[in-house]
Amino acid sequence: MAKLDLDQNKVKRCRLASVKIADSVDNYIEGLTTTSVERTILRLYGVDGVNSEEIPVPNLIVDQLNKADLLEAGAAVRLGQALLSSQLTVEDLSEAIAENKLDIIKLINNSNLNSNKVKSYMRELASNRAKKIKAIREKRDELQQEYPPGPKPWLYVIVATGNIYEDVQQARAAARQGADIVAVIRSTAQSLLDYVPYGPTTEGFGGTYATQENFKIMREALDEVGQEEGRYIQLVNYCSGLCMPEIAAMGAIERLDMMLNDAMYGILFRDINMKRTFVDQYFSRLINAYAGIIINTGEDNYLTTADALSEAHTVVASQFINEELASRSQLPPELMGLGHAFEIDPTVKDGFLLEIAQAQLVRQLFPEAPLKYMPPTKYMTGDIFKGHLQDGMFNLTSIITGQGIQLLGMLTEAIHTPFMQDRALSLENAKYIFNNACNLGGEIQFKPDGKIQGRADKVLDETVEMLEEIAEKGLISALESGLFAGIERPRNGGKGKDGVIKKASDYYNPFAEIFRKELVASE
């Protein structure tokens, strides 16, 4: 493998700074929970369903708890009180609430159970539910033993029709054509919904709603086609936005394999409140870690607006931060699909060399991570022929530098969400390049004082500098001052702020406890 000669001292400084940065985040969210975390806990216990107005039961419960100032102790305890005093199962309780036949606040207020008893009951229940998630993870391992996924870089395609049944058709066809991974893109603006839609859906814009039923439908379809093709097909969705941890829970239950999940994406690109985001990302990642789900971070997004040359270091800095925060949720490096992108203006002289430098730098900085490499999008045009070629150069960069998760570019990127034929051509493109230049990376060496090495050095220098500056002033201030993607977010602004709740001293989240304990033990 062609290697850059990187100053390991600088790499160490990047990691040290990231530790400081993560500490400041931990500090900042100390003692906080969120409505979405609490809804997630309910979902993990099996609370599900919607009422006649399509409001999900977890939302109904959490909203009522919140209004009644009962949320500070955590939804787990309150659910426990309700269950124990009603003697209902979780399913029956959910149904009764959906049908508005039961007043949970009354139940709780009437419950006079010993709080330790409630906690131990809920710990027991949580432990059983956790076992199910573990079983699902083991099922994945088994299936992957039987039908191993293809070699890396994995071929990752998206479906985005808005209709889960059309999506299924296209996903199955893509698997037949060689796709390793299918991501169901979410409908625009779902990330700003403060609830998760319910049931199978057929109406989305630019994507399909993430619902538990949609997850199930797609998982089944991919299992079937994967079995027929003898290749486990991985399923991706987004745990991002206001329902970040809830979707993580749904994904864990429906055996998704990857989740878009970033510590800062919501703040930057969806103007979500910082506290809300940092609390949610912690718990969502804990779930992903426990379920063995690879996260895909969103640094590529920086380059769809900012300049890929001048802002390259922000991508790397963000990767270090994402890495450190993820590891605090016990995510091992093998589950860190750190994101970056091929977005240099194609008219730049020697731009291809710079792309190689960047991809190789990231490869060496995070040697165990299955890097998620995003295709050219910003400089794609209606010229589909040229676009196909840009995608080819992107694929070539990936095979030279050994990327992990190859999000295939579409020749029609500037025109529409992918047609079936676009996806087929992209798969053909990647397969051709990956095979035809398979060992090129191992065959060449970069000139020690050349442009590629020089570019990598420069980006690394700027990264250290940026991370140390952030470590100094704190991540929150950095986000306020627009250090990432040129976007400034005020500390106290953003959506979902109302959902940030101070934990009471007897706050209890049994799932966090269980997940963390088991993950630490298995390290």
């Binding site: 199955r172 054509q177 814009f205 034929q421």
Partner: protein
């Protein structure tokens, strides 16, 4: 090689050979019947001498075709008239001078990506200081006062903010067009304005990669700008149009 512009045809390698390339997917498996279906489809598209040069099975009973054919259809190029937003594009200095001379005060413009659209880059390219492709954005022009509301702005909010800002014009960006969501958003805005009898109060302009001036006029806008628009084109239009509007009102 003389050309009859009243009857132009596509050109492959010989004048008027009518050659066209197409590609499409059919919901049938690949095979001789699929290929024949592709040929027939191309014939229905008024193509002759159809050649299916590539067939690929896509799985799940779909197949992809690349086809070449010839058409006899012609277009009278001499009759084509395209509506343009501006008669001529002025430069930065000319525009400021024009506004100063003719209107005598800065024009007030509010911009937004409406509905669920979060693609701000296009609107920013037109409105923000930095501009696009070497041309300053409106914010930089002394004779424009701008307010960029950013992404995912509901139409109601846009109207509200425009009134508050006392805007002369609204600049709306629509990039996502899947299932014609842009048409829905844009129509809604016009209807809201009309319902509140505010349509005449604002010059309304829409832009985006799939927007054309024709489409904009059709939907009840004053102008539309597509792919690769540069700020001075929009500024020229606004200057001329608002000059007409404002000076008409005054007369």
């Amino acid at each position: 090689m003389s050309r009859d512009l009243t009857a132009i045809k596509p050109y492959g390698d010989t004048m008027n050979d009518g050659k066209i390339q197409l590609s499409f997917t059919l919901p049938v498996p690949a095979g001789p019947e699929g290929k024949e279906a592709a040929r027939k489809m191309a014939s229905q598209l008024n193509l002759k001498e159809v050649e299916v040069v590539h067939t690929k099975d896509l799985g799940e009973d779909f197949s992809f075709y690349i086809v070449y054919g010839q058409t006899d259809k012609t277009i009278d190029y001499t009759k084509i008239r395209v509506a343009r937003a501006t008669s001529s594009v002025m430069d930065y200095y000319e525009i400021n001078e024009y506004i100063e001379e003719n209107i005598g005060r800065p024009l007030r413009v509010v911009g937004a990506c409406t509905g669920s659209d979060a693609h701000t880059v296009g609107l920013d390219a037109i409105m923000n200081m930095k501009g696009y492709s070497g041309e300053y954005g409106l914010e930089r022009y002394p004779m424009f006062k701008t307010l960029n509301l950013g992404s995912q702005v509901p139409n109601e909010e846009l109207i509200h903010k425009a009134l508050e800002f006392d805007a002369d014009a609204m600049l709306i960006s629509q990039v996502v067009t899947q299932k014609d969501i842009h048409v829905k958003n844009l129509t809604e805005l016009v209807e809201l304005l009309e319902a509140e009898r505010l349509r005449d109060k604002f010059t309304i302009v829409v832009g985006g990669p799939r927007i054309s001036h024709e489409l904009a006029l059709e939907l009840g806008f004053d102008a539309g700008f597509g792919i690769g628009t540069l700020p001075p084109e929009v500024a020229s239009f606004l200057a001329e149009e608002l000059n007409r509007e404002i000076n008409k009102e005054e007369n």
